[in-house]
């Protein structure tokens, strides 16, 4: 049953050192405010799961929160590399980070299977790819009906998932609109979940443009709801504010340089206080 907490308290309660954490949002609604709160609280040894690590995990990795990253595409979209991820993988700064990589199709299916609480996802995938040679979590099974060889990957079952959404209502029901990614799956697959939202409304179903098949996560399937206005910037919230593409481009220079990154982190995260 969703409890309304401050972002500070939600992260303090549900994100433990050493936990497996999925912060999802496929390009859209990336939970940056929550990621920054995790950095401010100095969480350590996290196994971070995200299809696209994006800037949010680049920042967490650079800040020293990550032990391992599970992902399927680790770039700055349309710009280039994630330099903090690369620096950790290639040079071990601030410390060595283990990686486990999949394809998008496999991770999407693994989130789906996690929401369905199955131990595995089955897909027609990885044919001819060398990814199975570097990821021992990719196996193959034979279909008992056709004999076809199909890929199998373990489902994603995080200790805690954190997503950002547009609205929650007073019962903690959460509305996600636009690019919904694997956010619902991430919440349902996790043992515990935090959802940050742009705003609280009285009753989602009473909204004038409410749709009978809207992507809604009921409050009783969520542990904590926290308000975080503009909580996904520089990512975006459909219907609220656009993606700050300019910042995504500027990030390249910031993240390339350890000092520039450290300064940015101090100014914009550590000393930025957050919304408590």
């Amino acid at each position: 049953m969703a409890e309304f907490l401050s972002l500070h308290d939600a992260v303090a309660r549900y994100v433990q050192d050493g936990a497996t954490v999925a912060m999802e949002g496929f390009t859209h609604l990336i939970p940056f405010a929550a990621g920054h709160e995790v950095i401010r609280q100095g969480k350590r040894d996290l196994t971070l799961i995200r299809m696209t690590p994006d800037l949010v995990y680049d920042q967490l990795i650079g800040a020293g929160c990550a032990k391992k990253v599970i992902f399927s595409w680790g770039g700055n979209p349309g710009v280039g590399s994630l330099h903090r991820l690369r620096d950790a993988v290639e040079k071990g700064w601030p410390h060595q980070v283990e990686i486990l990589e999949h394809s998008h199709a496999a991770m999407a299916c693994a989130f789906e299977a996690g929401a369905a609480v199955l131990p595995l996802a089955v897909l027609r995938g990885y044919v001819g790819s060398e990814l199975p040679s570097v990821n021992d979590q990719i196996k193959f099974i034979d279909c008992p009906f056709t004999g076809e060889r199909l890929a199998a990957v373990p489902s994603v079952r995080p200790d805690v998932s954190i997503v950002h959404a547009q609205k929650a209502d007073r019962a903690g029901n959460v509305l996600v609109e636009g690019i919904v990614g694997v956010q619902k799956e991430a919440v349902l697959a996790a043992k515990q979940s935090i959802v940050t939202v742009e705003e609280i409304v009285d009753d989602l179903t009473a909204l004038p443009d409410y749709h009978p098949n809207a992507c809604v996560i009921p409050g009783w399937a969520i542990d904590a709801v926290a308000v975080a206005e503009k909580g996904s910037l520089p990512s975006y919230a459909h219907g609220y504010y656009p993606r700050n593409n300019r910042f995504y481009k500027e990030w390249d220079a910031i993240a390339r340089d350890r000092d520039a990154f450290t300064r940015w982190l101090d100014e914009n995260v550590h000393n930025a206080g957050g919304q408590s």
């Binding site: 496929f26 390009t27 859209h28 299809m51 696209t52 992902f71 399927s72 595409w73 680790g74 770039g75 979209p77 349309g78 710009v79 590399s81 994630l82 991820l85 690369r86 993988v89 290639e90 990589e101 999949h102 394809s103 998008h104 199709a105 496999a106 999407a108 299916c109 989130f111 789906e112 897909l123 027609r124 995938g125 990885y126 044919v127 001819g128 790819s129 060398e130 990814l131 570097v134 076809e148 636009g178 690019i179 919904v180 990614g181 694997v182 619902k184 799956e185 992507c215 975006y236 459909h238 656009p242 993606r243 700050n244 593409n245 300019r246 995504y248 481009k249």
Partner: protein, 257 residues
């Protein structure tokens, strides 16, 4: 023709022309997205563009910087979840053409977007597979577009992220339920197709003003040229105008103006 255009424009226009009207195309970000949208704005108004973010049949006014810009959802027929996109639409056989870029490509059209060097001690860590491994095998066929250079066109990729035809050209033989794989590669110098027998990448068309030697010098193996080597048709004035408008709109929007 006396039109002025860059080799990058030549590449995009040629890539765009490869997409037939009415095709369903799973679009990679960057050059493929530029080409696919140019196709939609020129000869292929009914091309169906699908991005892995879940946006079905989208018609962006400006090119998205990321695979999931708001513009894509706002102009889409509808937006589905990412698991549904990969399960029902890509694996579900609804995609005619997968349109990909890459960091490395080899003579058998295998793609590497994972890393340069050794996996455990990479010289350069690249972004990784993303949607490509399954786009390349589940789409009906695959178009690839990238800039021509010795760094990109290597004899053997350091890592097969995404199957072309395997290290011996036979990687798709006998595999059930697999697409035809790469059918053309479009660069700023030429158009290549896999040889129908050996699957070895073969230059079928040189862009105007480009020589066979130019291509060879930008390729990391001794590349074959088709007997009936053609010259790629030049961009039209209209194509160039539409492309330049699109890129200008895009630059303005991405700069945050």
């Amino acid at each position: 023709m006396s039109l002025e255009y860059t080799s990058a424009e030549m590449m995009t226009v040629t890539a765009a022309r490869a997409l037939e009207n009415g095709t369903t195309c799973f679009v990679g970000i960057g050059l493929p997205s530029e080409a696919a949208n140019l196709a939609r704005l020129t000869h292929a108004p009914d091309v169906v563009l699908i991005y892995e973010s879940g946006t079905l049949q989208t018609k962006p006014e400006v090119l998205p910087l990321s695979i999931g810009d708001g513009e894509l959802a706002e102009t889409a027929l509808t937006t589905v979840s990412v698991p549904e996109m990969f399960r029902y639409w890509l694996q579900g056989g609804k995609i005619d053409v997968g349109f990909l870029g890459t960091a490395q490509i080899d003579r058998y059209c295998n793609l590497n977007t994972t890393l340069i060097g050794d996996y455990r001690e990479p010289k350069v860590r690249l972004p990784g597979g993303g949607g490509a491994p399954e786009i390349a095998t589940n789409a009906g066929e695959v178009f690839i577009t990238l800039k021509h250079s010795k760094r990109a066109f290597v004899d053997e990729v350091d890592f097969i992220t995404t199957l072309g035809f395997g290290r011996d050209g036979k990687g798709r033989d006998g595999v059930p339920n697999i697409g035809r794989g790469p059918t053309r590669v479009i660069t700023d110098l030429c158009v290549m197709k896999p040889d129908p027998e050996t699957r070895e990448l073969t230059v079928v068309s040189l862009h105007p003003g480009v020589t066979a030697r130019d291509v060879q010098e930008a390729t990391g193996w001794e590349i074959r040229f088709d007997d009936a080597l053609e010259t790629t048709p030049e961009p039209s004035e209209k194509e160039l105008e539409i492309l330049r408008d699109l890129k200008e709109r895009t630059a303005r929007q991405h700069a945050g103006e």
